[in-house]
Amino acid sequence: MIPDLGKYAIEVLSAYGVTILLLGGITGLSWQRWRRLKAEVERVERGRDG
């Protein structure tokens, strides 16, 4: 499945691994914070209006 990367396998795989890890990390954290803040603002606004 994985192409033969020869003697540079570690370099290539670590480049892809770190990229996916960092991009996945910032996307996951941003999404989690977006959901949390959205729910928090809605809760406070409901409390104020109610």
Binding site: L5, G6, K7, A15, T19, L23, V44, R48
Partner: protein
Amino acid sequence: MSIWEYANPKKFIATTTPLIPWVFGATAVCLVVGLVWGFFLTPEADRFGSTVKIIYVHVPSAMMAINAWAMMLVASLVWLIRRHHVSALAAKAAAPIGLTMTLIALWTGAVWGQPMWGTWWAWDPRLTAFLILGLFYLGYIALWEAIPDPDQAADLTSVLCLVGSVFAVLSRYAVNFWNQGLHQGATLSMDAEENISDVYWFPLLFCIAGFVLLFLGLVLMRTGTEIRLRRLRALERQAQRITA
């Protein structure tokens, strides 16, 4: 209709929230196509061997690290000139994404440089300017966190952004300014003779599109978060005044 309508936080959130899933959907398509095509289906290059596959993550991340700063510069100028809060918050929202892109470009550059140049790092003009840009990202994020008053923080970080733009430009053009160092010139060129071979170019285009769309989706989402955080603090202050 004017672009300044979106300086209204409510309008910004109402307009961008439905767009976010579409932007992330397009991001996923471009990244999957580009990375799978580039990693699995492109041949080794004569000079680079299989390390040529690093191009699909190194070039788009380096490009976006510089372009994110350019976007922050425009947003900072809008804040300084027109005092639109959304633009200051968009610049703030973009900084961690730009820092992430910088870290990816530095790491992928180091692991590519080691087998090709025989060293992980060189104090080459382009690399040094890029490292300084990364430090500016850290300083920018730290400055936002260090100043409690958001308007004052927006003013000072905007000035820092203007100063840091020198290094964003140098990261891009240092090779042209000082004809020395290990790093090659631009990978992409409008000149067909200078541009990389089509077999690498087409998957790279998908990867670049994927990184641009990911940046856009994250900026929209994070700007919405910053607007909500600001709103939450205003509501809390209001509640405190009522109870006092």
